[in-house]
């Protein structure tokens, strides 16, 4: 199992950094993937350990090891939290490049294109990371080393052909199901808050409160990764389950890594027009922009929104 090192040309330069990571694990709490699965092997520390294992030859480059390295939303919270100064996502990207050379590519969280693709090429210009390209004879392909799984291609694809197979709970169907479940099981429920992964910082890391603590909750926060992934269908779905309102949280102007906030703003503006046409107060759907990690502002915006809904009452 030894002597694989020379095959990891890109990863090799991180050998010292991988030793400097003290494996404290303080990056767990920040990872949306760990939040979703609860498995340590999906957390950032796990990827660092995997990178070390690949580089040292202690583990074989395998499909499952590659799948771990190719699964990352690049939110970079782990990096911001790392007091050892480990540039985690740069290491992941270099590992991905080496694994690609060996014919291993995940899929991880890389967006793929299904057969229903109409080759309109909208996703090529929409991709903020220049990860998508059109290859004659192959159709649209994604460079797994460049894709950061923001999901904007999913939102813009008119044929619904773009897909992230390992979505870690961020796909539209799962979010709608979670929203419906909350609205159907909480008598006090009023609002669904769709937050991008940057604007919302989960409070409870990995524990569950007793029912007595949550039964009177009037809103539920659901993380949809980038604001650019919000679709009208997703935002409207809670109203079919008697939500009083929907709040959208995304990054401030010029702070979104994917320009997804601009898309979210446009979608909410369009929905305002729709609401007006059907004689529903457009204020029932609102968008707020929250700087990364500003928990206080986020909570204040939610409280204001819920107060407003209380003054409006239910839709019917």
């Amino acid at each position: 199992m030894k002597n694989k090192t020379k095959e990891f040309k890109n990863l090799e330069k991180w050998q010292g950094t991988l030793a400097n990571c003290i494996r404290c694990g303080y990056c767990f709490e920040h990872c949306p993937m760990f939040h979703h699965t609860g498995w340590e092997s999906d957390a950032p520390r796990a990827k660092i350990i995997t990178a070390f294992g690949l580089l040292s030859g202690e583990i074989e480059p395998s499909e499952s090891a590659a799948n771990k390295m190719f699964s990352c939303f690049y939110c970079k919270r782990c990096e911001a939290a790392c007091s050892s100064g480990v540039p985690l996502t740069e290491i992941f990207t270099d590992a991905k490049k080496d694994l690609l050379e060996m014919g291993l590519e995940g899929p991880g969280t890389t967006s793929i294109t299904q057969l229903s693709c109409a080759r309109c090429l909208i996703c090529l210009s929409a991709c903020p990371h220049e990860a998508r390209s059109y290859v004659e004879g192959k159709g649209i392909t994604t460079d797994p080393a460049k894709c950061q799984a923001c999901g904007i291609c999913l939102e813009v694809c008119p044929a619904g052909a773009a897909k992230i197979e390992n979505d870690f709970g961020t796909n539209k169907e799962v979010l709608i199901e979670k929203a419906n479940d909350f609205l159907d099981t909480h008598e006090s429920s009023k609002a669904i808050v769709f937050a991008c992964n940057w604007s919302y910082y989960p409070e409870l890391q990995a524990s569950v409160l007793p029912d007595s603590e949550t039964k009177d909750n009037d809103y539920e926060i659901l993380v949809n990764m980038c604001g650019g992934r919000l679709e009208p269908h997703l935002l409207m779905a809670p109203f079919l389950h008697n939500a009083w309102g929907v709040l959208v949280a995304c990054c401030p102007d010029d702070e979104c890594q994917h320009n997804g906030n601009l898309r979210a703003k446009k979608i909410v503006e369009n929905l305002h027009n729709t609401f007006k046409q059907i004689d529903v107060d457009p204020e029932r759907i609102q968008l707020v922009q929250i700087p990364a990690g500003d928990k206080t502002l986020f909570q204040a915006e939610i409280d204001t929104f819920v107060d407003k809904l209380n003054s409006m009452g239910p839709i019917r």
Binding site: Q15, G16, A19, N20, C21, I22, R23, C24, G25, Y26, F28, E29, G38, W39, E40, S41, R45, A46, I49, T50, F52, G53, L55, S56, E58, I59, E60, S62, S64, A65, K68, C82, S83, S84, G85, E203, L204, Q205, A206, S207, V208, L209, P210, E213
Partner: protein, 477 residues
């Protein structure tokens, strides 16, 4: 490697709660220590009945079982030296009850410390043991290691806050130990025996914990010292003065430099600093304590002493202290911070000498060591900063650790204050506890006759920690 009946495990916990792929096993073979070893399967139980089912299966087939919380242990407690099934207890993560009337809460053992405190905060109370790793450390892991933290000087360690627990024994039986009351005088205090047993006696599935009110006032002070000796002597004098600090931390020059590099806290780069805090419900009482500690620091040549009630200022320093361990890797990019000789406790009067001894031993062995810790409770931490690629540095580290613990024992100190023994501190532990090792073995055998619970740890760990497992670093020959 012994064969695991995967189908049997799936029967017990379901397919979604088991992993056996080598890439997953490799990840779970590490914690925050220098050690690495491969488990045979990772199982994430969600109920007590599932834990019982696994234990019955493992006991019948004599398969080792290692319970794991956040994997933040520094001495290799959860590194599976004999292989076996690793129980990822993070699947049992429910806060079951917050009982304000009777002043206790009940939690499953996979609940994370900070999560519990977040849930308690809205009621104006907190669970105090809280180690630096509280963002990922689980209550079960803290019980296994009798964890404590910066506020243990006033509020005590895990052992002081656990009223009772439910434990699955190696044969699968479930027992309730301790009580739901503040006092209990009947029979052996078996729940206390479980605390600090590092998963070698039973699997804790539920704990009943006490909590205390969050104080209205907290004031934090910093005192700078030109010599480590002065700072160390000030600690002893503060504690002997009858002062009641809620935090009394020492940081030496290495630690200050590392934290400043990482967080830009603007701490003065002096030989040593003391961070002290007092808390209470009455401001005058807090002022009194801060004044008392300030005067003692002045007497021991402390300078630029300041204190603040400002929550932002306090939070900044507190976070700096909490992140010190990872920050030490920034001290010098050619040196990695290793969790070796990481904690110990010595009498207050020896604190200054201990801090000096750490630096003396480091110099003698051509490595860098740092001295810091919750000195108000007698706890001293150190880390060894070294070039982990060099084999000779490991030999030097081994020598230094032996010398550090020889000193600790010579002044009636103890091998571990709060990080536990695991693998890397077994050498000193066995010497220190030499006259009770037979007793420990008798207890272990009575509860776990097949030796399936975390075998090869504590008294069973090999003396030579360097060869106890693979090191998790690449070391050149």
């Amino acid at each position: 490697m012994k064969t695991i009946d995967e189908a049997k495990l799936i029967d017990i916990v379901g397919e979604k709660n088991i992993k056996t792929d080598p890439s997953d096993l490799y990840i779970y073979g590490s914690d925050s220590s220098v050690h690495h070893a491969m488990p045979w399967a990772i199982v994430k139980p969600e109920t007590t009945e599932q834990v019982q089912g696994i234990m019955k299966y493992a006991n019948k087939n004599k398969i080792p079982v290692i319970a794991r919380g956040g994997g933040s242990g520094m001495c290799g407690q959860t590194v599976p030296v004999k292989g076996g099934i690793m129980l990822d207890m993070k699947g049992m993560n429910k806060i079951l009850e917050i009982n304000l009337e009777d002043v206790y809460c009940r939690v499953e053992s996979g609940v994370v410390d900070d999560d519990l405190n977040l849930a308690l905060k809205q009621y104006g109370v907190f669970y105090p043991p809280t180690p630096a790793s509280s963002r990922i450390a689980t209550i079960g892991g803290e019980i296994a290691n009798n964890a404590s933290g910066v506020r243990s000087v006033k509020y005590g360690a895990t052992r002081d806050a656990v009223l009772g627990m439910k434990v699955v024994l190696p044969n699968g039986d479930l027992v309730s130990l301790g009580a739901h009351t503040r006092v209990e005088a009947s029979g052996y205090q078996l729940h206390k025996l479980m605390i600090g047993s590092e998963g070698t006696l039973g699997i804790v599935v539920e704990a009943t914990l006490s909590f205390v009110p969050i104080p209205e006032f907290r004031c934090m002070g910093v005192a700078n010292f030109d010599t480590l000796k002065d700072a160390g002597e000030a600690i002893g004098s503060i504690m002997a003065s009858g002062a009641n600090p809620s935090m009394l931390e020492l940081v030496d020059d290495v630690a200050i430099k590392a934290v400043n590099k990482t967080m830009d806290l603007g701490l003065k780069e002096v030989a040593a600093a003391l961070i002290f805090e007092a808390d209470g419900m009455v401001k005058e009482a807090v002022d009194y304590e801060i004044d008392k500690m300030t005067k003692v620091c002045e007497k021991h040549n402390g300078n630029d002493i300041y204190s603040s009630y400002d929550p932002k200022e306090r939070a900044k320093i507190f976070l700096g202290r909490k992140k010190l361990f990872p920050a030490l890797s920034k001290y010098d990019e050619n040196l990695a911070s290793t969790a070796l000789a990481d904690d110990m406790a010595v009498p207050y009067s020896k604190m200054a000498e201990m801090a000096g001894k750490i630096h003396e031993i480091a110099d003698k062995n051509n490595i860098v060591m740092t001295a810091y810790g919750h000195c108000g409770s007698g706890c001293m931490h150190t880390k060894i900063l070294m070039d982990t690629k060099r084999k000779d540095q490991w030999a030097s580290a081994k020598k230094a650790i032996t010398q550090v613990y020889e000193y600790v024992r010579s002044v009636n100190g103890t091998t571990s204050a709060e990080h536990g023994i695991g693998l890397s501190k077994a050498e000193s532990f066995k010497i220190e506890k030499s006259d009770s090792l037979n007793l420990l073995a008798t207890i272990k055998k009575a509860i776990d006759p097949n030796n399936i619970l975390n075998p090869g740890k504590l008294a069973q760990a090999p003396e030579d920690w360097v060869t106890a497992t693979n090191l998790r670093y690449s070391v050149n020959n």
